[in-house]
Subunit: 153 residues, 2 copies
């Protein structure tokens, strides 16, 4: 009788332990599911917010451009030119703040950051960049746009 | 003996079931941890990538601006003006593609999207917008920048 009692208690304990374990498993699975859903929701928001900050910084550039155009309408050439310089400085410094850097085109052609549009005979050393058709830019160690160049044959 | 064997088998089964359960719990917990780490890593990347796409689209605007400045340097006024118009159209359409919309300033002052800089006596209806000092913009239903306006007293 005592033996049976012990066995019965052990079985009950095992069953209780299993229920606790099951409960932990179910709760963890539910937490995981909820986390995944929240992440998916936030993911879309991150992109929107990141863009929004940049777009907010772009609005003054648009303002300056519109003022420059107004100066052009009123045939105020000096003011127009000044305005365009202002817009250029504003946009360049905005890009710089966001980690954008111009790719150097001094010296040798570098296939990692340059794109050769054509090669031409020249007095420069073979394989060196002799002209830049379009400037290139990086953000950190990523090439956003390679520099399009002409290379010495 | 047979009874003991049954009891022994049951205990072994219970123990085995517990091991399986423990294993599932541990694996789920590990999956959850890994998922959290990956999400944190990706979060930073999302912002970078989102910005990078927008920045990539801004580079041609910068190119056009530089060409306009070159025209200014060479005193080609018509080309400068044309260039500025091009830049303006490019930037405006970029913002439009990203869901940016100009806030209407027709009619009544709306505190949700307008910011009153001052109020002035005028012939217009009381509380209506009579002048726009700075244009305002929305993205979706969010105000990126309120329109700064002058309101009729």
């Amino acid at each position: 009788m005592a033996d049976e009692q012990v066995q019965h208690d052990e079985q009950q304990e095992d069953a209780a332990a299993e229920v606790v374990e099951d409960d932990r498993l179910l709760r963890l699975a539910a937490d995981f599911e909820n986390y995944k859903k929240r992440v998916a929701r936030e993911r879309a928001e991150y992109v929107t917010f990141a863009n929004e900050r940049l777009i907010k910084e772009l609005l003054p550039v648009l303002d300056d451009l519109e003022r420059a155009l107004q100066a052009a309408d009123e045939h105020e050439e000096a003011k127009l030119e000044e305005g365009v310089e202002l817009v250029h400085r504003a946009l360049a410094s905005l890009l710089e703040r966001h980690g954008v850097k111009e790719i150097s085109t001094e010296g040798k052609f570098d296939p990692h950051v340059h794109e050769a549009l054509l090669s031409q005979p020249s007095e420069a050393e073979e394989g060196s960049v002799i002209d830049v058709v379009q400037k290139g830019y990086t953000i950190g160690d990523r090439v956003v746009r390679p520099a399009r160049v002409i290379v010495s044959e």
